[in-house]
Amino acid sequence: MKRTLLLLAIASFFVAARADAKHFRFQGMHPIPESQGGGFCYIETPHVHIYEPARPDVLYRNEPDGYAFVGDPVPYGYDGPKYSYYGHHPIYVYGDAEEYCYLDGPHYHWFAPPPQARYRLKGGVYFYTGPFPSVYVEAKPRYTRINTVYRPLRYSRPVVIEAPPPEYTGPVFVEDRPTVVVPSGPPMVHAGVQAGFSVQIGTPPPPAVIVHEERPVYVQERPVIVRERPVIVREREVYVKHDRGKHRGWKKWEDED
């Protein structure tokens, strides 16, 4: 009898554990994993699903009410109100938690910064102009990996037509394809081709143009002054590096990391 009771107790423990484990808590809106049909979940309050989030290591923060999505919702099909941001910035939408967005360059969120926060709205884009505390710096190596998730996604990012304001101290987005390296003496050389090409200025001569991709580069004769801060002058189209229909899913990101 004692043994039966013990077995029953063990069995009930596992049943209870399963009951607890079958729900995953989310704090607000979030992408739906491809394995669950994809798309976007529009529930704005804490809720539960029977599936785990995709890439919780970088796309979410673990808050008391569950997984809190911190990425750009647009590439996942979100079609609600959205606000344009540029570069890294604090996130205030999940209560008092001190969280930061580490997305490089122009991106969207569904929330605007609160009025008292230190942002500058320029050309319809929010630039964070406040300081970055140590908590941001410490978490940066981990969370900047979010950009490896977004880089291959093809979607219309915010159009940024003005340079960041002087108060902006975050990283400046540089278009990364194709890469053109122009070693030069004076900081005034440019191998401009199409708007959005990346240009890196080396220090000494000789004057040479090194193209790091096989795609042809058409060099215009018109010299362009290179500023300290490259300016994005048009909407960025990012092209997906296809896996020729193999669709390895999330595993490939894990492999890359």
Partner: protein, 129 residues
Amino acid sequence: MGRRGLVILFAAVLAGACGKSDDAQAQAIVAAWQKAGLEPSALEPIDGKPFDDGKCRTGSVGGIDVTMCEYKDADAAKRAEAVGLTKIGDATGVARAEGRVMLVLADRRGHDPNGRTINRILKVFSETK
């Protein structure tokens, strides 16, 4: 009727009014869902003991299973959220308290894959107090 009788009468009227107020709140929420085009069914009374001794009703709104429970105060309703979550089962769902009312939503038939209906039900619920 003496002074004592008046006090008893007043208490009885007050108690009756409070009871009506509970019903009125639930009815107001259902009416608001109806007005929002969410097609609520009739909410039938159920045993509220499994929901932390609430006064509960159940039905559906916009294809989502709904259980609405009333408690003696807002704290009790908030505490009942944890129990409410355990009643969702293998589905997407929410347990949310507003004032003395706690609402449990469960999409057991997969009517709402992107959560828009659940979100609308919750918004109307929050706005109707």
